[in-house]
Amino acid sequence: MKKFLFGIVVMTLFALFYVHQEVELLKIGYELRSREKLKTELLDQKDILTYNILALKAPSRLESVLSFKGADYRMPERWEVVAFNSPGKGRVTAPIERRGFIADLFSLKREAEAKTIK
C-alpha cells in the first residue's frame, strides 16, 4: 500500500512539474512575441529615420536649401585654383631643430610640434 501511495505521489509531482514547465514555456512564448513585436517596431522606426536622413541629404534638397538661404556655391574658376604638390614622395621638409627643454623655454619662436609616442 505504501509503495502504491508513493508511486501516486511521484506521478502527481511529475505531472505537476510537466504542467508547470508547459505553462512557463507558454509564458516565455508570449514574452518572446511581445519582444519580437517591439523589435520589429524599433527596426521600422530605425528604417524610417534612416530614410529621413537619406531624403534630407539628397542633392536636390541640399541645393534648394542652400539657394533658399542665398548661399551662392559654385565650382572654382581656373584662376581660383592653386595647385599644390601632393605630400609624400619627394616632399622636402626642414629637419626640426632640437635645442633641449631649457633652451625651448626661452625660445622666441612659436612652434607647434606633435611628438610621436613610441
Binding site: 508570449y30 512575441r33 534612416t50 530614410y51 531624403a55 581656373r78 585654383v81
Partner: protein, 575 residues
C-alpha cells in the same frame, strides 16, 4: 430447486441503461475515432493553426558610390470591419478618420456602411498620422504593415529607377527589369494561436525564413545625375522644349554615369504623372539626328581613305541642285577643306563626300556604328531606330542620310557612336547596372566593359577627335567650349517631320554630341532638346547644356584643368 426471482421491471431498466451506454459509447467512438479523423481534427487545426506569410524585403538600389536611390520600408494601412461596428462606433470612427487622415466624409460613409467583414480605409499611411490613430484603439478599425518603396530623391533618375506597384512588384525601369533579383523569396511560419488570437511560439510547426531581395549597384553617379538634371531643368526653363534628354557615359567602359529626361515624374507618386512624363526618352524615342550624324559620314570617308583632312570640297556657295531638289547650307560656303566641312557643318560638303563614298560604304559604316539596332542597354523599352537598307534607298537618300535625314536614332545610340570615336574606335555596350549583390554585399553578378566591335581604326578615331575639337574651337559648337578643359563635339539641328510627311520649318530637334577632355576623353555626353523655342540651333541650345554639364562633372571627377597639366609638364621638363 431454487427458483430464480425475475423482476421484469429491473430487467427493463437494465436493458435501458445498457442500450443508453451502448449508444453513448457508439457516439463517443464515432466522434473520437471516425469524425475526428476526417473532420474535427481539420476544424480544430483551422481554428488553432496560424499561417503567417513572411514578406522578404525588396532589394535596395544604390548608385556607384553606394548612395541609396531606392529602399523599401514598412508603412501602416488602415482597414475596417463594418459588420463588427455599431452605428455609434461608425460615427466616432468617421469623425476621427476624417480629422486624422484628412479623408472625406462621403468616402468614409460609403466604406463604413458596407455590409462586409473587411474594407480598406487608407493604404500606405505615414507613421506620424497612423500612430495617433492606433493609440485611440477604435473598435472596428485595424492596422496592418505593408512594404512601400521609397525613393529618397524623388525625381532623381526616376526614368532609370522606374517604380513599383502596390504589391511591391516592379512596373517600370530597373524595378521592372530586375524584379526577379529585387523581389526576394517569401518565407512562411506556421504556429498555433490562442483564444485571443495570439501566437503561441511553443507550438511552431514550420518556420521558413524569407530571403531578402538582392541589391543593385548602378553605374549612375548621384552627383553627376543631379548636375545633369539641374542643367536640364535650366534648359527647359530657358528654351521651353517639349521634351529633353541627356546621357553622360564613360566612353572607355560604356558605364552610364547619368541619364535624365524631361518631363520627369516623382517615383514616390508615379500615378499622378502623365504617361508622357514616364517615358525614358533617351532610349524609347527615336528622331532624325540631323548634323550630328555627320560624324558617321566623316568617319566612313576617312576610314575608306577617299579624302584627306585638307582635301578641298566645293560647297556651291550655299545652294546645290542634286537628285531633283536643292540642298542648302545654313551659311553659304565656297571651297572648304574636308575638316572645315565638318567644323562648319556644311550639308552640301557632307553630301558631296557621301556621294564620293557611295551608298554601300555609308550604309555599312552606319550599321557598324550600331544604328538601326538596339544597344541592348539593361533598361526596358529600348527602340532600334530606322536605317533603311540600300535596296530601299531612293535617288535622294544619298543626299539625306549623310546629314542625318531619312534615318532615326535614339540618344543612346548617338552616345555609343560618339564614345567609339572618343575611345579610339571601339563600339562599347552601354550598361547601367554595375553589380548585383546579396544583402551582405557579396556580388552575385558583375558587369564588365564589353566591346562589341571595332568601328574605325585608332588613327581615324584620332583624326575624328581633332575634327570634332575643331567644331568646338572654330566651328558651329563654339558655345560648348569649356573654360578650363578641351572639348570636342558636333552640333545638330534637325527639322521635324510634319503629319503630312514634309520637313517642318518651325519645329526642330536640337542636339549636341561630344566628349571631354578632347585629348583624353573621360565623358561622352549627348544632349537632345525636342522642339525648343525661340532658339532652335543645336549650337545655341544644346551646346551650352553640354558645356555646363561637362565642366562641372570634370571638376567633380577631379580631372585636372589644362593649365595645371601644362604647369606640371613644364615643371617636370624643367626638373
Amino acid at each position: 430447486m431454487h427458483k430464480r426471482n425475475r423482476n421484469p421491471r429491473l430487467g427493463a431498466i437494465l436493458l435501458l441503461f445498457t442500450a443508453s451506454f451502448a449508444l453513448i459509447f457508439l457516439r463517443l467512438f464515432y466522434v473520437q475515432v471516425i469524425d475526428s479523423a476526417f473532420r474535427l481534427s481539420k476544424l480544430a487545426a483551422n481554428q488553432h493553426a496560424l499561417t503567417i506569410e513572411l514578406s522578404p524585403e525588396r532589394g535596395r538600389i544604390f548608385d556607384r558610390n553606394l548612395n541609396v536611390l531606392a529602399v523599401s520600408r514598412n508603412v501602416y494601412s488602415v482597414y475596417a470591419v463594418p459588420r463588427d461596428m455599431t452605428q455609434r462606433e461608425k460615427a466616432i470612427a468617421m469623425r476621427t478618420l476624417a480629422s486624422c487622415l484628412g479623408l472625406k466624409g462621403n468616402y468614409l460613409s460609403e466604406r463604413l456602411n458596407k455590409d462586409k467583414l473587411f474594407v480598406w480605409i487608407a493604404r500606405e499611411v505615414p507613421d506620424e498620422k497612423a500612430k495617433p490613430l492606433i493609440a485611440l484603439k477604435l473598435k472596428g478599425l485595424g492596422f496592418v504593415k505593408e512594404p512601400k518603396r521609397f525613393y529618397p530623391d524623388g525625381t532623381l533618375a526616376s526614368h532609370v529607377l522606374g517604380f513599383v506597384g502596390r504589391d511591391d512588384k516592379g512596373l517600370e525601369g530597373l524595378e521592372l527589369l530586375y524584379d526577379k533579383y529585387l523581389k526576394g523569396v517569401k518565407g512562411v511560419r506556421v504556429l498555433e494561436k490562442d483564444a485571443k488570437r495570439r501566437m503561441i511560439y511553443r507550438f511552431e510547426s514550420k518556420h521558413v525564413l524569407p530571403k531578402d531581395g538582392c541589391d543593385l549597384v548602378l553605374t549612375i553617379d548621384e552627383t553627376i545625375q543631379h548636375i545633369v538634371e539641374r542643367e536640364l531643368d535650366k534648359a527647359m526653363k530657358e528654351f521651353h522644349p517639349k521634351g529633353a534628354s541627356v546621357i553622360v557615359m564613360s566612353p572607355q567602359t560604356g558605364e552610364i554615369l547619368a541619364i535624365a529626361n524631361r518631363p520627369a515624374f516623382n517615383s514616390n507618386s508615379p500615378s499622378g504623372a502623365p504617361i508622357d512624363a514616364r517615358r525614358n526618352r533617351a532610349i524609347t524615342d527615336s528622331f532624325e539626328p540631323g548634323s550630328t550624324f555627320k560624324i558617321v559620314t566623316a568617319s566612313a570617308a576617312l576610314e575608306s581613305n577617299i579624302l584627306r583632312e585638307n582635301d578641298k570640297v566645293f560647297c556651291e556657295n550655299g545652294a546645290y541642285f542634286v537628285a531633283g531638289h536643292t540642298l542648302h547650307d545654313h551659311k553659304p560656303h565656297g571651297w572648304l577643306t574636308f575638316r572645315e566641312v565638318i567644323e562648319k557643318s556644311s550639308n552640301i560638303g557632307t553630301c558631296k563626300v557621301a556621294m564620293k563614298l557611295g551608298g554601300e560604304r555609308l550604309y555599312k559604316a552606319i550599321c557598324l556604328f550600331g544604328f538601326g539596332k538596339r544597344t541592348n542597354i539593361d533598361l526596358p523599352g529600348e527602340i532600334s531606330g530606322v536605317v533603311k537598307p540600300t535596296s530601299r534607298w531612293s535617288k535622294t537618300t544619298i543626299t539625306a542620310v549623310p546629314m542625318g535625314q531619312e534615318v532615326t536614332v535614339s540618344a543612346m545610340q548617338l552616345a555609343c557612336a560618339v564614345s567609339a570615336i572618343a575611345n579610339g574606335g571601339l563600339l562599347v555596350k552601354p550598361h547601367i547596372v554595375k553589380a548585383i549583390q546579396d544583402r551582405e554585399g557579396v556580388p552575385i553578378k558583375f558587369a564588365k566593359p564589353s566591346y562589341l566591335r571595332r568601328v574605325i581604326s585608332a588613327q581615324v578615331a584620332s583624326k575624328m577627335r581633332e575634327f570634332l575639337a575643331g567644331v568646338v574651337e572654330e566651328g558651329t559648337g563654339q558655345m560648348a567650349k569649356l573654360p578650363s578643359y578641351t572639348a570636342a563635339g558636333k552640333t545638330g539641328t534637325a527639322q521635324k517631320i510634319t503629319p503630312d510627311g514634309r520637313y517642318s520649318h518651325t519645329d526642330f530637334v536640337a542636339s549636341f554630341v561630344g566628349f571631354a577632355p578632347a585629348e583624353d576623353p573621360r565623358l561622352a555626353i549627348v544632349v537632345v532638346l525636342d522642339n525648343p523655342h525661340p532658339y532652335y540651333y543645336g549650337g545655341v541650345v544644346a551646346a551650352p547644356v553640354f558645356k555646363r554639364i561637362a565642366v562641372e562633372t570634370l571638376r567633380y571627377l577631379g580631372v585636372l584643368p589644362n593649365e595645371m597639366i601644362e604647369a606640371r609638364l613644364e615643371k617636370k621638363g624643367g626638373a
